[in-house]
């Protein structure tokens, strides 16, 4: 079975390449569907495959850039990418990230901050999960009220409507984001991206997990546009991150390319699935992914108090993350296949009808 292993030229270790492809498919599906890089999912997977951790972040970012490019291309064709918003947010994110990263270095000099950072991350994830499910519950309530009144709820109606309050802030300059259908102060995306970038810098994460809900609930993007625009941002920042990590010699391109083979398939599945799943379906699945991420962090934190059980809890955390990836990937793939089948069948039926009427 030697052929199933490939020697990594830089890291000098042999890696089970089908594992890299499977990981790429899973992360590609979830990334293309939710609009995030998914570093929190890749690292445990690489760890299990025996990948040297010195190369994990760089390799992950390199594959993330390629994967986001594929997803952005597809989302762009669906009209899901607001490039103007993406460019504005990119600037805010980069500046915010740098401020956050500098701040965390300053805090580290003052004392250990790891535990505080993880607790902050947990609070944030809990808030995001609450926000998503509160929104879903509120919309369902609206739907039920509308049904009782004998009418249908507006397709564009949302549960939480915080973005409407933010849109009332009219500090110049005002911008019109055509794809997202938003007219707001330019300061809104700038400040939001700065804050999400700042949080990502403090927490040491990519930020897609925070940016996606911020785009929906604060800026007011439709879910599909939030996914596409976030991926556009991940693509550019990922390419830049890949450059800096590679310059430091921490990227194993061979592994990234193998993962990209899987991710290109996964990204297509995830992106095309957004065609068949409604905005609120995406939000619910996203909420579940956030809960999975939070549980894995809790499991990682337990050994801080009970060091004797470190091996068990580290393993459990990896199982939770990979279990969530597998379950969500399966759900998204099934939905995509079902939707594609219906579309193909509808096309065939209409073609048959046309042929019949011509005869």
């Amino acid at each position: 079975m030697e052929w199933l292993y490939v020697l990594m030229p830089i890291a000098g270790v042999k890696i089970f390449w089908p594992g890299l492809i499977i990981l790429g498919i899973g992360v590609g599906i979830i990334g293309g569907f939710f609009g995030m890089g998914g570093a929190w999912m890749v690292t445990p997977g690489l760890n299990i495959l025996g990948f040297p951790m010195a190369f994990a972040i760089g390799t992950d970012i390199a594959h993330m850039a390629g994967k986001s490019l594929i997803s952005t291309m597809r989302h762009g064709k669906f009209g899901n990418v607001d490039y103007k918003l993406g460019m504005i947010m990119l600037v805010g994110t980069v500046v915010g990230f740098e401020v956050g990263a500098q701040m965390i270095m300053w805090l580290e000099r003052l004392g250990a901050v790891e535990k505080t950072v993880r607790i902050l991350y947990l609070i944030l994830l809990a808030f995001i999960a609450w926000m998503v499910f509160h929104d879903v519950a509120k919309r369902r309530q609206k739907q039920q009220e509308a049904l009782k009144a004998g009418r249908e709820v507006d397709k564009l109606a949302t549960g939480i409507e915080w973005h409407k309050t933010f849109h009332k802030i009219k500090i110049p300059p005002m911008i019109h984001l055509k794809v997202a259908g938003i007219y707001c102060s330019a300061w809104l995306p700038i400040i939001v991206s700065f804050l999400t970038g700042w949080l990502a810098g403090i927490l040491g994460i990519g930020g897609g997990l925070i940016r996606m809900p911020a785009l929906i609930y604060i800026i007011g993007c439709p879910t599909h546009v939030a996914v596409g625009t976030d991926l556009f941002e991940v693509m550019i920042s990922g390419l830049y991150g890949a450059g800096t990590y590679t310059y430091k010699g921490r990227t194993e391109l061979v592994a990234a390319v193998i993962m990209l083979v899987g991710a290109s398939i996964g990204a297509q599945i995830g992106t095309v699935a957004t065609k068949y799943i409604k905005g609120y379906g995406i939000r619910i699945a996203f909420g579940i992914a956030v809960i999975g991420c939070a549980v894995s962090i809790v499991l990682k934190m337990v050994p801080m108090y009970y060091p004797a059980y470190r091996t068990f809890f580290d393993g459990a955390s990896t199982v939770v993350v990979l279990g969530i990836v597998a379950a969500l990937s399966f759900y998204i793939t099934v939905k995509m296949v079902e939707g594609a089948k219906q579309e193909v069948a509808a096309k065939k039926a209409s073609m048959a009808k046309q042929t019949g009427s011509q005869v």
Binding site: L69, Q102, P172, G204, Y240, A242, A267, A340, V344
Partner: protein, 197 residues
């Protein structure tokens, strides 16, 4: 009195957004010695109306006016009390210039950040990289793998540049290949009908 048109929203409907570049605090529109006149040139006989003062900010008074226009073009005009007429059309050029300048500033800031902070700005993925030197072992490698590892050992710069060039190329190739497969299945990959927020 200096005016600047910030943005014309839906010009066909005659909805205009203004910024008046005059510092001041408090008070309604009239307190600044202005009165508005809305001319109705619309063919439908509709009267324009003013939406009044929208909000006050520390350094600018922002006023929002709404009018209805017909086919004859903009119908809203402003006068100060001395009788000098201000026509919206005079400010369109200024608006475009203002927005271009804003975009130029944003692009300038982005370029500066990317140029001057290459080592510290890591917008995707965080974490410090420990300052250790890793050397690739080329003894067991051959062909392209050997060349790749040699490039890594010789110059991280060329290695990084090639990586950055290769990732998008490989991404596009795989993306196009996956596109071909998906199109072959019969899925429409160019539009999305589903509309929900």
């Amino acid at each position: 009195m200096a005016y600047k048109l910030l943005e014309t929203d839906c010009p066909g409907n005659g909805i205009y957004r203004w910024v008046m570049d005059r510092a001041g605090v408090g008070g309604a529109f009239q307190e600044y010695g202005l009165r508005e006149e809305i001319l109705n040139k619309g063919g439908d006989g509709s009267r324009g109306r003013s939406c009044g003062v929208e909000g006050l900010f520390p350094f600018r008074l922002r006023t929002f006016f709404r009018g209805f226009s017909g086919s004859s073009g903009p119908i809203v005009r402003f006068e100060d009390l001395s009788g000098a007429l201000v026509d919206l059309r005079d400010f369109k050029k200024g608006r475009e210039f203002g927005m271009t300048k804003l975009w130029a500033k944003i692009a300038g800031i982005a370029a500066t950040i990317f140029l001057f902070l290459p080592d510290v700005v890591l917008a995707a993925g965080g974490g410090e990289v420990a300052p250790i030197v890793i050397v690739a072992d080329t003894r067991n490698l051959s062909g392209i793998m050997w060349w790749w590892a040699e490039l890594y050992n010789e110059s991280h710069l060329y290695f990084a540049l090639l990586t950055i060039a290769l990732i998008p190329i490989i991404g596009v190739i795989f993306g196009v290949l996956a596109d071909i497969v998906m199109t072959h299945i019969g899925i429409d990959l160019k539009s999305r009908d589903l509309a929900e927020h």
